[in-house]
C-alpha cells in the first residue's frame, strides 16, 4: 500500500504538471494529492501507540516496507519520531497548496509537480530506515526545492541555495560514510556503536549538514535570499515544513542512531553531553542573531526569513539539551513554528497578492481593509512572540524550564532576550503592514488564501488550551528513546521547577477582559478617520505628499547601535572561502595556457617525473 501511495503521488505530480495551462485545475488536483500524506499519517496513529479513534484509519498501511530496486533495498518504517514530523509536514503542505490555488498563476504545473516531489522526498526521509534511502530521499527533496527556488529567477537565491544545499549534501554524505565504515552496515537498527571519536566526528559532520536545512548559524546565509525571493506558498512550506527535516534528522542521528551514551563520551556538562551543549549554544546564538537581523529588515519576507532563523534556533536548543522537558519543548516549538511561520508567510503572500508590495515601509493600514488576514497574522504573531494567547508560549516555557533545570546560566538569558527581540520585529510587521495610515484601497484576500491561513492558526489555539494533548502526541517519541514523558493533564504541565496551567491563564484573561469590557462599554463612542485628529481639522489633501506612516527605517536607533557588530557576518566568511576557492580555480586555469609548446613541455616533465619516481622506487 505504501508503494502505491508513493506512486499515486508521483502520478498526480505528473498530472499536475501536465495541466500546466490550467493553473486552478492543476492546483485543485494537487490539493487532493496533498491530502494523501495527511490521511496516511492519521491512519498510522494507532501503529505508533496513540489512541486515535478507529474511524480515522483511512488506509490500512503496513508499518514497514522493504522495497528492492534490484541493486539496493530501501527500508521504510514508521517510527514515532517520523510520524510526528510527518504530521507537521502533512498538515502544513495542503495549506500551502490551498493558498497557491489562487496565488500561483504562471507556469503552475511545474510548481505543483515540484511541490509534490518535495513532499514525496520528505515522506521518504521521515520513513527511511537505512542510510541509502535516507540520502536518496534527502537529495530528491533538496533538488525539488532547487527547482522551486529556480522559479524566482534570482541568481543570488539560486546560487546560495545550491551551494549550501550541495555543501550540506556532501557533509551528510561524508558523515554517513564515516558511520558506515565504523559499523559496516547501512541499516540504522543494525548499527551498534562504539564510543569513539570517529562516530562523534561523523555526527558533527551530519549535524552541520542538517544545520543547513535547519538554518542554524553559520549555515543560515542562504535562507534570507531564498525565503525573500521565492513564491510565498513554497516559502511557507520550506520554512514551516521542510526546515523541520533538518531537526528531525538531528534527533534521529543523535538520539536514535548513535545514542546518548556515545554522545556523552566526549564528556558531559551538568549531565548534558558537550556535543549537545554546543548544539544548544549554537541554537541560542542562532536565536539571537536571527532576531537582531530580523529587526533590521525592511523587506517583509526578509524579516520573516530572519525571524524564522531565530525561531528555529530554539528547536536546536531543545535538541541539544535532550532532557524529556527539552525534547518536548523542541518538538512543541517545531509544531508551533510549522503553523505560525507558514501562516505568516502565507499572509505576506496575501498582502503581496493584493497590494503588490513587499517593503514594510511602503505598506500600511491594511488592518481595516483585510481584517481576517490581520487577525490571522495577529494570532500567528502571538505564537511567534510567545504571548500566552496561543500555544507559542508553552513551547518556549518548556525550553526555558529545561535550560533552568540544567542550570544553564548563559544560554537562558540569550533565549530570553531573543524572545523580547521577537516583540520588536513582530510589532514592526503589525504596525508597518497592518496599522497606521491606510495607503491602499484593497479588498480582503481571496477565500482560499484566508482558509489556508486560518486553518494554520487553528491548531495554535487548540494547543493553547490543551497543551497536554500535545504532550500526549510526543510521549511515544520520548518512550521510543527511553525517556519519561513529562507529567501533565490536558491543560497543565508540571515540571520539577514550576507548573503551567493554561486554564488559569485563560480564565484570568477572560476575567480581566470582562473588567475591561465593563469599562469600555460604560460610554458610547464615535469612530472618526485617522486624519481627523492629528491634522487638527486641516484638509488631508494638503498632506498627501507627506507620509504619515513612520514605518520607514522604523528601528533606526537600533540599527545604528547594532549594525557595526553585524556588518561582518557569516556571509562574509563564506564569501572569503568562496574567493579562496576561486583563486585556486584561477590557478588551475593558468595551467592551460593555450600554447601547444607548453603542453608538450608538460608531457616531457610528466615523463621525467615518472622516470624519476621509478628510479627512486
Amino acid at each position: 500500500m505504501l508503494v502505491e501511495i508513493f506512486i499515486t503521488m508521483l502520478i498526480l505530480a505528473l498530472v499536475a504538471a501536465a495541466l500546466n495551462k490550467y493553473p486552478k485545475i492543476s492546483g485543485i488536483v494537487t490539493f487532493f494529492a496533498s491530502l494523501i500524506p495527511f490521511l496516511v499519517v492519521i491512519s498510522w496513529s494507532q501503529d505508533i501507540g496513540l489512541s486515535f479513534p478507529q474511524f480515522l484509519k483511512f488506509f490500512t498501511l503496513e508499518k514497514s516496507l522493504n522495497y528492492n530496486i534490484g541493486i539496493a533495498t530501501f527500508m521504510l518504517k514508521i517510527t514515532p519520531l517520523g510520524w510526528f514530523f510527518l504530521l507537521l509536514l502533512a498538515s502544513a503542505f495542503p495549506m500551502a497548496i490551498l493558498f497557491s490555488i489562487t496565488f500561483i498563476k504562471k507556469n503552475a504545473g511545474g510548481f505543483y509537480a515540484a511541490m509534490i516531489t518535495s513532499m514525496i522526498g520528505s515522506m521518504g526521509i521521515l520513513l527511511a530506515q537505512d542510510i541509502l534511502s535516507f540520502y536518496m530521499f534527502w537529495e530528491i527533496m533538496s533538488w525539488s526545492i532547487l527547482a522551486l527556488v529556480m522559479r524566482s529567477h534570482d541568481k543570488k537565491a539560486i546560487m546560495s541555495y545550491l551551494s549550501f544545499g550541495v555543501l550540506s549534501a556532501m557533509l551528510i554524505l561524508l558523515g554517513i560514510m564515516l558511520l558506515y565504515s565504523e559499523t559496516g552496515t547501512f541499516v540504522f537498527s543494525e548499527m551498534g556503536f562504539m564510543a569513539n571519536n570517529t562516530t562523534l566526528i561523523a555526527l558533527s559532520l551530519l549535524v552541520s549538514g542538517f544545520a543547513v536545512k535547519g538554518v542554524l548559524v553559520p549555515m543560515h546565509v542562504w535562507a534570507p535570499y531564498v525565503y525573500s525571493r521565492s513564491e510565498e506558498p513554497f516559502v511557507a512550506f520550506l520554512s514551516g515544513g521542510l526546515s523541520k527535516l533538518g531537526y528531525f534528522a538531528m534527533i534521529l542521528f543523535m538520539y536514535s542512531v548513535v545514542g546518548i551514551s556515545v554522545l556523552n563520551s566526549w564528556g558531559t556538562f551538568r549531565d548534558v553531553s558537550i556535543f549537545g551543549y554546543t548544539l544548544a549554544f549554537i541554537g541560542a546564538l542562532t536565536a539571537f542573531i536571527g532576531t537582531v537581523l530580523a529587526i533590521m529588515q525592511d523587506d517583509l519576507r526578509k524579516l520573516l526569513a530572519y525571524s524564522s532563523i531565530g525561531q528555529l534556533g530554539y528547536i536546536a536548543i531543545g535538541i541539544g539539551i535532550g532532557t524529556p522537558l527539552a525534547m518536548t519543548g523542541a518538538l512543541f516549538q517545531a509544531l508551533n513554528h510549522t503553523f505560525f511561520k507558514s501562516a505568516l508567510f502565507l499572509a505576506a503572500g496575501a498582502v503581496y497578492y493584493r497590494t503588490g508590495k513587499w517593503k514594510i515601509s511602503e505598506l500600511g493600514g491594511l488592518g481595516y481593509k483585510m481584517p481576517f488576514t490581520f487577525l490571522a497574522v495577529l494570532f500567528a504573531i502571538f505564537a511567534l512572540a510567545g504571548i500566552p494567547i496561543t500555544s507559542g508560549f508553552a513551547a518556549k516555557w518548556l525550553l526555558y524550564e529545561a535550560a533552568i533545570q540544567k542550570k544553564f546560566l548563559f544560554i537562558t538569558p540569550i533565549m530570553l532576550i531573543a524572545g523580547v527581540g521577537a516583540f520588536l520585529y513582530s510589532y514592526k510587521i503589525l504596525y508597518g503592514v497592518f496599522l497606521g495610515e491606510p495607503r491602499h484601497n484593497v479588498k480582503e484576500a481571496p477565500l482560499s488564501q484566508l482558509a489556508a491561513m486560518w486553518l494554520l492558526v487553528l491548531p495554535l489555539i487548540i494547543f493553547l488550551i490543551f497543551p497536554g494533548w500535545f504532550v500526549d502526541l510526543t510521549s511515544p517519541i520520548l518512550k521510543w528513546y527511553g525517556l519519561m514523558p513529562i507529567s501533565h493533564t490536558p491543560y497543565t504541565i508540571t515540571t520539577s521547577l514550576a507548573a503551567y496551567n493554561t486554564l488559569a491563564v485563560i480564565l484570568a484573561l477572560i476575567g480581566g477582559l470582562i473588567l475591561a469590557f465593563a469599562l469600555y462599554f460604560s460610554k458610547p463612542q464615535k469612530v472618526v478617520p485617522h486624519t481627523d485628529n492629528y491634522l487638527a481639522g486641516e484638509p488631508p489633501e494638503l498632506y498627501e505628499h507627506i507620509s504619515m506612516h513612520a514605518a520607514s527605517k522604523y528601528y533606526e536607533p537600533f540599527d545604528e547601535v547594532f549594525y557595526p557588530f553585524f556588518k561582518r557576518g557569516a556571509e562574509m566568511c563564506w564569501m572569503a572561502i568562496l574567493k579562496f576557492v576561486k583563486i585556486l580555480g584561477e590557478g588551475a586555469r593558468a595551467i592551460y595556457t593555450g600554447i601547444v609548446n607548453d603542453y608538450s613541455i608538460y608531457i616531457l616533465i610528466f615523463f621525467l617525473l615518472l622516470v624519476g619516481w621509478w628510479l627512486i622506487w
Partner: protein, 318 residues
C-alpha cells in the same frame, strides 16, 4: 469546592481592585513628590482618582476603529491578568499556576494591546513612541533577565511564589551579596520599566507629545492610564517579590489574619519605597536618547549582571 472557587474569585477581584487603587494613589504621590522636589505645590495626592474618574465620565469618546479599541480592552484586561499571577504580600493568588517566565510574557499582553491601539491611531508620534518603548524593553530586559536567571538557578525554582517562599523568615535575597548587586541592577531596569526619567524616552512629552498616548482620549485614555498605574504596582511588586521577600515578614500559619495585615502593610511600604526611589531619580535627571539608554543597559547594567552570573556560576559549579 464551589465555595472555594467563589471565595478565591472574590479575593482576586478584591486584590485587583486594591491594585488599581494603589496604582492611582501612587500616581498622585509621584506627582506630589516631584512637585515638592521642584519646589512647586503640586496636585493633591488623590489627583489620580480624579483623573481616572474624569476620563471615564467624558461624553465624547473618539475611536479610530476596532483595532484602536483593542488597546483599551487588552491593556486593562492584560494588566489585571498579570497582577493575578503575582504573589502579593505572601498571598499567591494564581501564582502557583504559572511562573516567572509566564509573568514576563503576560506583561507583554497589555503592552501589545496598547501598542496595537497606538499603531492603529495612525499618528506618527505614536509609532515613534512605540518604537522607543519596544527598544527600551529590549534594553532593560537583558540585565533583568540575567539577574532573574541567576536567581532561578540559585533558588532552583522558576516559580515566583517559590522564590518568595524561599525568602520567608526574612531571608531576603537582597541579603545575599550577589543579589544585592542584582537588586541594584534590577532597580536600574525598573527605572526603565516604569518609564521614569532618565528613561522616559517613549513618552517624552516635549519631543513626541507623549508618544503612544497622543491619540487617546476619554475612556480609551482612561483605560491606558489605569494600565499605566497598575503597571507601576505590578512592576514594583515584582521587584519586591524577587529581592525583598515579597514583603512577607510574618508567617501566615503562625499568626493568622494578623500576619496578612502586617504583610500587606510591609508590602505596601516596600513598593512605595521602591517606587519613590524611582520617582526621586526621575525628578532630578534629564532624559537619555534611546540609543544612549540601549547602550547604558547593554554595556554597564548587563556587564554587572554578567558578573553576577559568573558569581552564581562559580557557586553552582562547586
Amino acid at each position: 469546592m464551589v465555595m472555594n472557587i467563589i471565595t478565591s474569585i472574590l479575593v482576586m477581584s478584591g486584590m485587583v481592585a486594591l491594585g488599581f487603587a494603589i496604582g492611582m494613589l501612587f500616581n498622585g504621590i509621584a506627582r506630589k513628590v516631584v512637585a515638592r522636589i521642584h519646589n512647586r505645590v503640586g496636585p493633591p495626592v488623590y489627583q489620580g482618582y480624579i483623573d481616572v474618574f474624569k476620563l471615564f465620565s467624558k461624553k465624547t469618546n473618539i475611536s479610530h476603529g476596532w483595532i484602536f479599541d483593542l488597546a483599551a480592552l487588552f491593556s486593562v484586561g492584560g494588566i489585571a491578568l498579570t497582577f493575578l499571577f503575582l504573589p502579593v504580600a505572601g498571598v499567591s493568588m494564581l501564582s502557583g499556576e504559572g511562573d516567572l517566565f509566564l509573568i514576563l510574557y503576560l506583561i507583554a499582553i497589555p503592552a501589545l494591546g496598547f501598542a496595537l491601539g497606538a499603531g492603529a491611531s495612525g499618528n506618527p508620534n505614536a509609532a515613534v513612541g512605540m518604537m522607543r518603548a519596544l527598544m527600551m524593553m529590549l534594553a532593560y530586559e537583558l540585565p533583568i533577565a540575567m539577574v532573574i536567571v541567576a536567581m532561578m538557578v540559585y533558588y532552583n525554582t522558576t516559580s515566583l511564589a517559590g522564590i518568595v517562599a524561599m525568602q520567608s523568615n526574612l531571608k531576603w535575597a537582597i541579603g545575599i551579596p550577589p543579589f544585592l548587586i542584582g537588586a541594584l541592577v534590577a532597580d536600574m531596569a525598573l527605572q526603565g520599566m516604569l518609564m521614569e526619567k532618565p528613561f522616559d524616552i517613549p513618552l517624552a512629552p516635549h519631543e513626541i507629545a507623549t508618544g503612544p498616548l497622543v491619540e487617546f482620549g476619554g475612556k480609551h485614555l482612561g483605560s491606558i492610564i489605569l494600565y499605566k498605574m497598575m503597571g507601576t504596582v505590578v512592576e514594583t511588586t515584582l521587584f519586591v517579590d524577587l529581592f525583598l521577600g515579597g514583603g512577607v515578614v510574618l508567617n501566615v500559619n503562625q499568626f493568622g489574619w494578623f500576619a496578612y495585615l502586617v504583610n500587606f502593610i510591609v508590602w505596601f511600604v516596600l513598593i512605595l519605597v521602591v517606587f519613590l526611589i524611582a520617582v526621586i531619580i526621575n525628578a532630578v535627571f534629564p532624559r537619555f536618547r534611546i540609543e544612549q539608554a540601549l547602550k547604558f543597559y547593554w554595556k554597564y547594567d548587563a556587564l554587572v549582571a554578567l558578573f553576577i552570573l559568573f558569581w552564581i556560576f562559580s557557586g553552582v559549579m562547586v
